[in-house]
């Protein structure tokens, strides 16, 4: 479904954010991407959002090479994705109901659909009764749940969550992860970047560990790896891990849509 083929991203000041990344994510997977700050997690997601272009290599979403999509098709591409950000990125001048409804308006849905679906999504994230509040009138956990409701309301194929629990207390973080799990069980592919060992371990799903823009581990049923905190990965181990990644990709190819 989503694949990176030898993707490298370098910024003007010679900082390498991603270094020769190759990986495939299949429909229905729940993938956690870990690594310390600056390891390239967010850049990886930005490639999928078409927010950044790779310096070299290709990123595919289904059959589409994302960065060759014409400009006018980028919004349509982004609507295939549900997006949750660490800083929520809610619309401050729209209330709870309108924030979620906005996603359906953008998707061209009718007013009847909006009146029917939005309450359902708000119920799912436990925000019923707060429809008329504005984002600044919500707690951090509520704002993130609102962002999730907005991200899933149009039933996207993939949910990208960039450190969604970074600003939340452990109990609220658990609630958010529970919602992601539920969505994944319903068939949505979830890609999550996180620093949290507790979350990664509790999920016991595929874990990709990045360090200095390279994949150093890609475990099918992984846990938070000590390697993700290493300043510099051992070159040998890195090569093995990338080989494992390619094997993992090939292994799963048959099940991809």
């Amino acid at each position: 479904m989503i694949s990176f083929e030898r993707v490298t991203k370098q910024y003007d000041d010679d900082i390498t954010a991603l270094d020769d990344i190759t990986l495939t994510i299949h429909p229905g997977e729940f993938v956690s991407i870990t690594g310390h700050s600056g390891s390239g997690k967010t850049t990886l997601l930005k490639m999928i959002w078409a927010e950044e272009n790779p310096t070299s290599g290709k990123v595919y979403f289904g059959k589409d090479e994302i960065h060759r999509l014409p400009r006018h098709l980028i919004p349509e591409h982004r609507r295939r994705i549900g997006s949750v950000f660490q800083d929520y990125r809610l619309l401050p001048h729209k209330n709870v109901f309108e924030n979620v409804a906005f996603m359906l308006e953008v998707s061209g849905r009718s007013d009847e659909d909006i009146m029917h679906d939005v309450p359902y999504a708000l119920d799912l994230v436990n925000l019923v009764g707060k429809e008329h509040r504005y984002p600044h009138q919500l707690s951090a956990g509520e704002q993130q749940r609102l962002a999730i409701a907005r991200a899933i309301i149009h039933q996207p194929q993939v949910l990208l969550a960039d450190e969604p629990t970074g600003n939340l207390d452990p109990a609220t973080a658990d609630e958010i992860i529970a919602i992601f799990k539920k969505l994944n069980e319903l068939g949505t592919t979830v890609i999550l970047t996180t620093h949290s060992k507790q979350i990664v371990d509790s999920l016991a799903r595929r874990v990709i560990t990045l360090n200095q823009g390279r994949i150093i581990h890609d475990d099918i049923k992984g846990s938070y790896r000590v390697g993700s905190t290493m300043a510099t990965p051992a070159p040998k181990k890195k090569q093995v891990s990338q080989q494992q990644t390619i094997e993992h990709a090939n292994h799963n190819k048959n099940s991809s849509v």
Binding site: W49, A50, E51, R71, H72, I74, P75, E76, H77, R78, R79, I81, S83, F85, R89, L90, L91, P92, H93, K94, E98, F102, M103, E105, V106, S107, G108, R109, S110, D111, R150, A151
Partner: protein, 309 residues
């Protein structure tokens, strides 16, 4: 999704921005009103200047004096010919009798002159033509028409006693030059003021919308297309322009009334307030159109500069 639905959503969202983002609305309305006041004051200054120059131009004329024995046919013929000359706005015929009446009126306190006139026993004054050009700078060409080898027959030419253009030539030229300079400078100053105030408005509104850049980025990230993002800002810009122009029109009423009381005599009889009332519909159309265009331009510039790929 139908056009009507997306248009309704765009207008609703734009109006929500207006009501809910009150700081931006107030800042935009304030700067818009000030700009439109500057623009309208430039319109008034131009009108006053035009009127004053027109009044001044009317005081400049050329007189063609005929010999007392000139027949009415000759004077009428010269008048018709002059009326056909390019740049001649008006030719006024002053008969011998009228000239005498004017002379007597002018010298009513001068018994010596009146006595001399009485001793002559007949009217020594000839008829004359008072020629008014459309612009003082055009008297030169009119004067050439009256010269030998101009547009008159030798008989007509021989009956002309004098043309006072040459006595007044220097003054007329100076006035013409002054009027052209004032008119040109007035237009340049007005344009500079209008352009400056529009630029300040555009930039102020752009800065006011700066607070929306994160919102614009968020909309883009969730897949909103350009029309969905920009539309409401255009609606809000249009609203700011419209309301700003209405406020300006309302403020102009007492303002022009007050200015008129202070300046009517100074401007040669033109009342700014009368000008405002007489041209009310045009002023509304011009200000509303300018306000809406500036509002939309400011919003477009702001949103476009904050939109990423």
């Amino acid at each position: 999704m139908s056009f009507t639905t997306s248009f309704q959503r765009m207008v609703r969202s734009g109006m929500q921005q207006v009501w809910r983002n009150s700081t931006v609305t107030l800042a935009s309305l304030l700067v818009m009103t000030v700009t439109l006041l500057i623009i309208s004051s430039m319109l008034f200054v131009n009108a006053v200047l035009g009127f004053s120059l027109e009044q001044m131009a009317k005081r400049v004329d050329v007189n063609v004096y005929f010999l007392p024995n000139t027949t009415d046919e000759i004077v009428n013929s010269v008048q018709r010919k002059l009326e056909g000359v390019e740049h001649v706005a008006e030719v006024q015929y002053i008969s011998r009798e009228e000239a005498l009446t004017v002379f007597q009126e002018r010298h009513k306190d001068d018994p010596l002159a009146l006595q001399a006139l009485e001793e002559l026993g007949e009217n020594p004054l000839g008829a004359s033509l008072n020629v008014l050009a459309d612009n003082p700078s055009n008297y030169d060409s009119i004067s050439k028409f009256l010269e030998p080898d101009g547009g008159l027959t030798s008989l007509e030419q021989s009956m002309i006693e004098k043309v006072n253009y040459h006595q007044n030539e220097l003054v007329i030229r100076r006035i013409a030059h002054l009027m052209n300079t004032i008119h040109r400078m007035g237009t340049i100053v007005a344009l500079v003021f209008i352009i400056l105030s529009i630029l300040i408005t555009l930039n102020t509104i752009r800065l006011a919308i700066y607070s929306s850049r994160e919102e614009i980025a968020a909309m883009q990230m969730v897949g909103a297309d350009r029309t969905t993002i920009q539309g409401p800002f255009y609606v809000a810009g249009m609203f700011h322009g419209f309301i700003g122009s209405i406020i300006t029109i309302v403020v102009l009423y007492p303002l022009t009334s007050w200015i008129a009381r202070q300046t009517t005599s100074f401007f040669g009889g033109l009342s700014v307030f009368d000008y405002y009332i007489n041209n009310f519909v045009w002023i509304i159309i011009i200000l509303v159109a300018i306000g809406i265009v500036i509002g939309i331009m400011a919003s477009a510039l702001a949103v476009r500069s904050y939109m990423r790929r």
